[in-house]
Amino acid sequence: MRERVGVAVTGVVFGFSLSRIGFSSWDEVHRMFTFADLRLLFTFMSAVVFLTLAWIAIARLTGATWAPRNLHPGTLAGGALFGIGWALSGACPSIAMVQLGEGQLGAGLTLIGIVAGNWLYSVVHERWFRWSAASCVDA
């Protein structure tokens, strides 16, 4: 129950926030990437700063530790491909869902693409790559 509530509440608040920030607007994302408007960039960077402070506080108060994220040959190449896709579709994985909720139905195609691309990589990886591709959901 606690898990279900946690998942649902974070999902709704995250989706709402992304929408209000403007991350779900293709135009806003484009203006971020072309540095025409720095608001989204500042939003992102300030979130990272706030989070760093929060993790430090949580570690101090609870003694929590976190498993390090793994670095493997796909990190750079995968990131690079994702960036091209983000600039074209205006969506990172969560944004496609938010756009659908806002009634931007074209995001349905982005979502189909994301599922297909994820599936495609899992097949490609098994066939040609050797490194462990553990996902961040494990961290």
Binding site: G85, W86, A96, G117, S135
Partner: protein, 201 residues
Amino acid sequence: MQHWPWFVGGAALAGVCVFHWLTLRRMLAVSGRFTAMINRARFGPEKQVEMTAEELRAAMLAATREAFGPDAAPDAPPTSTKPEAKAGPTLTKQQSAGMHLLFLVALLCGGLVSAFLAGGPSFSGGLRGELFNGFFGGKASSAAVLLFGGVLVGFGTRMAAGCTSGHGLCGVSRFQVGSLLATMAFFGTGVLTSLLLRWLL
């Protein structure tokens, strides 16, 4: 709709990540949820094995010997004999596919609530925005761009094992080298692609 100023947005995103960790004891990572759901679709439900640290150690020892011969692993007792040592990351149980789906539907609801409070939602066939529709005016061309872009997003985030939330927010803020590299990579190609679009179209 009036967008939030940067510090409000930054605080909201950070708050969501912290709340996610406090309630679920795991980092916010959206592309990982897609990955887990697709693994589930391809391979069926994962076996959930419940064992103590000692049982796990014995099983690993047996597997090592099976793979590399009986002399491969020493018989010595574990270095730490403290029961349930407190240090180190705990093994968290994998979330079910239903939980991943619930998160994605909740994201959609968040967008819906936002649109509803702004007097909507209004429906549009493609995406909204002068720039997007100016660049890719036709229905066919905008559909192609969204589908192709989506494939790159899915492929790339799985290859990099993370996206804007897992690497960009939760990884960079914990000074993870891989996350920093991935974030620099996706931001770099995002900038290049957007500049190229503006230049070409």
